[in-house]
Amino acid sequence: MSYDNPLPVIDQDSAPYWEAARQGRLDIPLCADCGKHHFYPRTVCPHCFSDKLSFDTVSGRGTVHSFTISRRPAGPGFADEVPYVVALIDLQEGPRMMSRIETDDVESVQIGSSVEVIFVRATDEVTFPYFKLT
């Protein structure tokens, strides 16, 4: 089955992150100088500007910081998914990331809801980290 929605254009910064997701792990950069994680993956730490970074497998648990329910599709490929929840997730390890919350009841999502990562395959190359309520 073909995938009709936008796919990430993977680059040198993001390749290890997407490869980990393909293997079912959430790996994000960790800075050896300041000890903080960040997201999205960069070559230089946005907290302390160090380049001593490595990818670290994180818990995949977090909370909903905010979200919106898309009542209309962002492009024709999303039409059969409406309504769907796009959310900002605060990971336990600190960084915030955008993702989707998979749920049968979009009204059940709240700011502060606990969530856990799930991996949703799109293509052979790309698997997305989505989240589900816990």
Binding site: N5, P6, L7, P8, V9, I10, D11, S14, F39, Y40, H65, S66, F67, T68, I69, S70, R71, R72, P73, A74, G75, F78, E81, Y84, V86, L88, R96, M97, M98, S99, R100, I111, A122, V126, F128
Partner: protein, 393 residues
């Protein structure tokens, strides 16, 4: 303190629209050229006088629009010696005023022309589908957030969560804009609209309804700036640029430092007001970017007109509508007058018209000082300009 090189707005123009579309047939660059000529002419200047060119827009990208001032300068037939193609979204023109002001003070140019044009309505080029999925956007676009409304919706929901702000508060902003638009013959939407109409309109991206969103129209506008010395001999009522500031924090909404508070707006406004030496109580008329209703509420708080969390109460009971105590977005704004994609140009034009006393039925009596604040991207950038009527000492 008076300096002959203090920056002054001496010319402005915007294009006529009918049903949100350009009346006249011309390319987007043609519309830029027409409003440029008109703005220069009202001041008694011509294109030959222009040695500073500033523009931002979405035309010709990818392609000639990537070198926007170069393409526009070629089309106009000029060789400017100060150029600025800064694009920080819809607030770009407030930043352009700041940059032109510095160039004029420095003697780097004598007559600065700021131009904007968009034919997005005629082209039907507006989409909600998000940005190409490269670099930072590879981590957002694939998730299908409606863009940019989804980011504003997330900020609105966060503000509601932190402060108890309600959809009715946001609807007040849309209704006030419509009432101002009914006093502006050039406004695109003038039909009656109630709080219930906003609340009952289609939900686009929870919690923002269709009528929380700006219009999609064409539009072109131009502003001409020169020095106080030069302005003395020109034909229009001069409006002095007394203060300015700009900042930005993020492009991806996940990188916004605080979803319920506009940190760039706060920084920009603080600098602009300190530079101008004005307090909030000195401001007679305010123009704030209204891409969405929530943009106005967040901006009012960040600019210091009310405390964080008090924006909902501030806009209630018709306070920002005609006849209210706080004259805001007197053209009808992006919500009801026009929104060609980057509305910041039209905030400046309306503020200048108010200070000139040219606003007819919507004129704010005795307006001497105006605050203009643009927002760009997805609550990404903020840029503030303080304007005062006349050549200020």
């Amino acid at each position: 303190m008076k300096n002959g090189r203090d920056p002054v707005i001496v010319g402005l123009a915007d294009s006529a629209l009918e049903g949100g579309r350009f009346v006249k047939q011309a390319s987007v660059l043609g519309h830029c050229a027409l409003v440029a000529n008109e703005a220069l002419k009202e001041a008694g200047l011509s294109m030959k006088d222009v040695d500073g060119l500033l523009t931002a827009g979405m035309w010709g990208v990818p392609g000639p629009g990537q070198l926007n001032t170069v393409t526009l300068g070629e089309y106009l037939g000029i060789m400017p010696m100060f150029v600025d193609g800064t694009n920080i979204g819809g607030s770009a023109f407030e930043a352009h005023v700041a940059h032109a002001a510095m160039a004029l003070r420095e003697g780097y140019c004598e007559v600065a022309l700021i131009v904007y044009g968009s034919d997005q309505k005629s082209l039907r080029s507006r989409t909600l589908g998000g940005r190409p999925s490269v670099l930072n956007m590879q981590h957002e676009t694939p998730y299908g957030m409606l863009t940019p409304v989804g980011g504003y919706a997330m900020a609105a929901r966060r503000h509601m969560h932190e402060y108890g702000t309600k959809s009715e508060h946001l609807a007040e902003i849309a209704v006030a804009a419509r009432k101002w638009a009914q006093l502006n013959p050039a406004a695109t939407r003038q039909d009656d609209m109630s709080i219930d109409d906003v609340m009952d309109s289609m939900m686009i991206s929870d919690p923002l309804h269709l009528l929380d969103c700006c219009l999609v129209t064409d539009g072109a506008g131009a502003i001409v700036m020169t020095t106080a010395e030069r302005a003395k001999d020109l034909k229009t009522t001069p409006v002095s640029v007394k203060g300015y500031g700009e900042s930005h924090s993020h492009w991806a909404i996940s990188e916004m430092p605080d979803l319920a508070h506009l940190l760039p707006a706060a920084k920009a406004a603080k600098r602009a007001m300190e530079m101008a030496g004005v307090k909030h109580s000195d401001i007679d008329v305010t123009q704030i970017y209204d891409s969405f209703t929530i943009t106005v509420l967040l901006s009012l708080e960040a600019l210091g007109f009310c405390k964080p969390g008090e924006g909902g109460a501030f806009v209630s009971d018709g306070r920002i509508a005609p006849g209210g105590e706080f004259a805001l977005n007197t053209s009808g704004g992006g919500l009801s007058a026009l929104h060609p994609g980057m509305f910041g140009m039209f905030l400046l034009i309306e503020a200048t018209r108010q200070l000139r006393g040219d606003c007819g039925a919507r004129q704010v009596k005795g307006a001497e000082t105006a605050l203009v604040h643009g927002t760009g991207g997805t609550l990404s950038s903020g840029a503030t300009v303080i304007l005062q009527k006349g050549l200020q000492a």
